[in-house]
Amino acid sequence: MPEPLLQAVDLRRSFGTVHAVDGVSFTLPEGGSLGIVGGSGSGKTTTARIVVGLEHADAGEVRVRGRARPSRARGREQRLARAREVQMVFQDPYLSLDPRTGVDQVLRETLRLHFPDRDPEPRIRELLDQVGLGTRAADALPRQLSGGQRQRVAIARALAVEPAVLVLDEAVAALDVSVQAQILNLLADIREQTPIGYLFITHDLGVVRCVTDEVIVMRHGSVVEAGATAEVLAAPQHPYTRLLLDSVPHPGWNPDRIAAARQELTSPLAQPTQHTGGRSEPT
């Protein structure tokens, strides 16, 4: 059996008394797509940041093609190689873009850094076109773009690096459904053409259904359910997964009832000593 593309082994990370990530393991095969769903504050972003190397783990290991990812890169070459292993698109595009740098300049810098021998210009146009941004966006500054346009810049920049693993943290949430459909189709095409793997964090179970093969459900730092996406969504085993599915807006949707069900799911269980600031979050 070939080594899996990405492996997380028993990751742990605490902030003070908060166990943000509490023993998370998963495997992403070459060309695979793994979804991470779960409540607000359940540790999804922290897990992603550990995988990318933006956050250190208190314990556990991240392996890419069987090799442990060193916690720190030495020198330029190693840093670039590391960046090509894993790229991330963040939940908050505003923060990840330099407010003084134009969109085409962002891409040009990234391409020059990683592919100094190639002419960046045709690739810049290709990337902008792929994420559905026109020429006005190309020389705009981040604040002159709408939320969804900024997010597409961030996606284009991550794709420019041609990473082995792309981590998308709520990367399509800010997009309207037609642009979202274009981006999801683009990601599907890239996955067909290359061995890239996706780690897809999203609150939208419809998106999970559409773009992932497997899914893990997180709650309070732990994985409560894992399996093939189609199976987990069709026959959820954990009550929390069932609550998530019931919460998706649909005809006859009753937010009061969901809020009550959520409280109920919390109450019979002991309150954790660590509280994550989310008092009413299911424990």
Partner: protein, 359 residues
Amino acid sequence: MTRGPMTRPPRPASANGSTASANGSTGSTTTLDVRGLRVTLPGTARPVLDGIDLTVGSGETVALVGESGSGKTLTSRSALGLLPPGATTEGTVLVEGHDVLAMDADRLRALRTDTVAMIFQDPRAALNPLRRIGDFLTESVCSARTGDRAMGRSAATARAVELLDAVGLDDSALKKYPSQVSGGMLQRVMIAAALMGDPALLLADEPTTALDVTTQAEVIALLARLRERFGTGLLFVTHDLDLAAAISDRVYVMYAGRIVETGPAETLFARPRHPYTAALLASTPRLTTPGGRLAAIPGQPPDLRTPVTGCAFAARCPLATEVCDEHAPAPLQVSEGPVHLAACHHSDRLVGEGSAVDA
């Protein structure tokens, strides 16, 4: 939740604000009345907002959906008098009968603390990372208000704790910095902040996009209670059509700076009469959608540098004919009963077909 000292008496809830006229008095049941709003940005070839007509009655929930970059955020920000630098405007934006675009800085400040609140799309961009969440929540009601509307610090803190509780956060959040809480928690802080001043009009720009579905449900339940008890008008910008259908009375669909369709949520989603609305519905990934490709709309909306003659959707529309390139379609009533307008030359071709447009 119990209310703080700033509780205002409930306003009469109106059934539908769209027919109410702006008579300049605060007794109007139309909380927000945008008429013919046209906004042009420097260095562009067409208005970024091109004749927007939109109303929100008191106690009414109105959804604004549409293409990324179509102007949803600009439209909602106009109700706060916040437009990009250098923008030129035509038309009026009336909030409780008063024209926001004609207000001086003092009136605008009062408007933003007492009458209109906004939940921004990008919470981290709207927050100072060096200020604690507690200070952020209390500063607007403590400092910006004057006279009898000013609030003491301890009253403001009590109110902040109460609202944090209502959005499912405990008071430990007060002492935290924005970087120490997750994206969904921060968005709930923003929602609490918007409710601090008991607004008559709440502009919510994708307020639940960063939230998981169960938290989203809780926030929606909270907003629904608010509107029932205080007659708050809610303009809800969202990309989630199923959510828009579930929570709103009326819906506006925007494309390239124009309202292309508006009507009661139920009718509009069940029987869309504009090809863009139909295409949006078709491209939504649902739990029942099989894996694989989605029905994306090919192409892109027109750039702001490109002038648009005719219908802005023509280049991407499966029903487009010559007339579409030449003449901009005017919004016309397309079904019997309540106001349901579609700006499309061929909207009759969508009758009875549901989401007839595919990619």
